[in-house]
């Protein structure tokens, strides 16, 4: 396999600002097929903004974005539909449709894009709920669930269509350590069983070390460090060390 074929998503020199606030300032990134890339970085550095660019939810001010070697940053919403079907996106705040039950939430993309009948859809919904450890909660409303449960329902919805690429925005935040570890195992399982390419945004270093093939650190709109989990554990770069060990400098206190 040549090298280009292995790259499933690529960002080239991406810049993005909101009014006066410069968020991304020249991001370059290549995602390798079937690998798990973890993005870490302080709150507010633009991690969520970064992954929204990968599926065209946000448009860069300059720079290029490729998915499967097709340039997507200038496509219109209608043309992006096909691209987006390759992706599953777990939103940081879950973003469940609060007028629908858990089951209807997970069934939503299936109803929109497939011709499955009701029985098949029910079966897929039950299967995805089981994967995230919530069997039998099809008829609950999102408001009845805890934050961690909502996140897992959102994950079930993100993978309902068996996407090739899953973008996880803080999948373990707000979960107890045991649930968090089940999610880590699920990320690893999806990678091995259906060869999912994953991007995981997280602050949870235990999770990062467990699932990552590669870790990148975003700081002030650019990647400042990149490497395997081991490299990050042993890193001598001060900003990385402080993030990994969770230390604040006196002026941040």
């Amino acid at each position: 396999m040549n090298e280009n074929h292995d790259i499933i998503v690529e960002l080239r020199n991406v810049h993005k600002r909101f009014g006066p606030l410069k968020v991304l300032q020249g991001v370059d990134l290549k995602l390798q097929r079937g690998r798990t890339t973890v993005v870490i970085g302080e709150s507010g550095t633009g991690k969520s903004v970064l992954i929204k660019h990968m599926m065209g939810l946000l448009r860069p001010d300059s720079g290029e974005i490729y998915v499967e070697s097709e340039r997507i940053d200038h496509l219109r919403e209608k043309e992006l539909v096909k691209v987006r079907q390759r992706f599953g996106y777990l939103f940081q705040m879950s973003a469940l449709f609060d007028s629908m039950t858990t089951g209807q939430n997970i069934a939503f993309p299936l109803l929109e894009h497939t011709d499955y009948n009701d029985r098949e859809i029910e079966r897929i919904v039950a299967e995805k709920l089981e994967l995230v450890g919530l069997n039998g909660s099809q008829d609950k409303m999102p408001a009845e669930l805890s934050g961690g449960q909502r996140k897992r329902v959102a994950l079930a919805r993100a993978i309902a269509m068996n996407p090739q690429i899953v973008l996880y925005d803080e999948p373990t935040t707000g979960l107890d350590p045991i649930r968090a570890d089940t999610i880590n195992d699920l990320i690893i399982k999806l990678k091995h069983e259906i060869k999912v390419t994953s991007v995981v945004v997280t602050h949870d270093m235990a999770s990062a070390f467990k699932v990552a093939d590669r870790i990148l650190m975003l700081h002030e709109g650019k990647f400042i460090a990149e490497g395997a989990a081991e490299d990050f554990r042993r890193s001598t770069e001060p900003r990385v060390r402080r993030f990994v060990n969770g230390q604040s400098t006196p002026d941040e206190a």
């Binding site: 973003a95 609060d98 939503f108 929109e112 894009h113």
Partner: protein, 272 residues
């Protein structure tokens, strides 16, 4: 002075830009209506919206119509009795209600009642990233959310206006006939002579435009609100004020156009 000028200039260009965005939004909504009708799963989303908009608004709209009818009759009855025209009470009440007050007041009630709820619902979906979630799943938020709400407004505003009209005419009757002793036969006879199909058509067609304005403005405000609960609250207020003013302005121009059409077809006619 210079800063005042540049501020005003910036404000004006912001306003024009917002206006352009609103029409782009409206154009996209209208463009989605026909494709939307061809998908069964989309059409199924219409009924719950009609239910939410229609059933819950019916009582307030009927109460509005009833009291407007009562008040109109009270205001008019003494003058008409003094000039011996009390038999024509029904004409005054029914023409005012059917042509003007029914559609405008029902429209204003719905702008507050329905428009506010729509802006709040869509605005909340916006700030909690549910709109992005729809897009991330390859669905178009305008097709899924706006088109059914827009159509429900367009269909139900005229219907609710008719209820408002009926209660208004009934309110006028209640004051004139049982309270002030106008003859029952005269009330209905003069009413049915004066009130033409054209008047009902005028009132109902106004309501169609008002419903479209309410649906488009409130959905647009919800889709474009700022972050946070405060953003949603402000979008609701702005949506109501814009809807209210649009209804009054549209009413003026639609009335002018309808008068023009009537006179050019049937000529001028007195109602008394």
């Amino acid at each position: 002075m210079v800063s005042w000028l540049t501020n005003t200039g910036a404000l004006a260009s912001d306003l024009i830009a917002a206006f352009g965005r609103f029409w782009a939004f409206s154009g996209r909504t209208l463009g989605r209506v026909l494709p939307w009708m061809t998908r069964r799963r989309d059409v199924q989303r219409l009924w719950p919206q009609c239910h939410a908009i229609g059933t819950t608004s019916l009582p307030v709209v009927m109460i509005t119509g009833f009291f407007v009818g009562l008040v109109l009759a009270i205001q008019a009855i003494e003058q008409l009795m003094a000039s011996g025209l009390a038999d024509r009470m029904g004409v005054i009440v029914s023409l005012s209600v059917v042509r003007e007050l029914g559609p405008v007041l029902a429209g204003v009630m719905l702008a507050g009642r329905v428009g506010g709820a729509l802006t709040a619902e869509l605005g909340t979906m916006n700030v909690t990233e549910q709109l992005d979630a729809l897009r991330s799943m390859g669905s178009d938020p305008i097709r899924v959310l706006v088109v059914p709400r827009f159509l429900a407004c367009v269909l139900l505003t005229p219907l609710l206006t008719l209820y408002c009209d009926v209660l208004g005419v009934f309110g006028g009757w209640l004051i004139s006939v049982p309270v002030f002793g106008v003859s029952n036969w005269a009330y209905w006879n003069y009413t049915s002579n004066a009130l033409e199909m054209w008047d009902i058509f005028c009132g109902v067609s106004k309501a169609v435009f008002f419903g479209a304005a309410i649906g488009l403005i409130s959905c647009y405000k919800g889709f474009n609100c700022r972050q946070g609960a405060e953003g949603v609250g402000r979008a609701c207020t702005e949506g109501f004020v814009t809807g209210f003013i649009s209804i009054l302005v549209m009413d003026f121009f639609i009335t002018m156009a309808q008068k023009g059409v009537y006179v050019s077809i049937w000529g001028f006619k007195t109602v008394f």
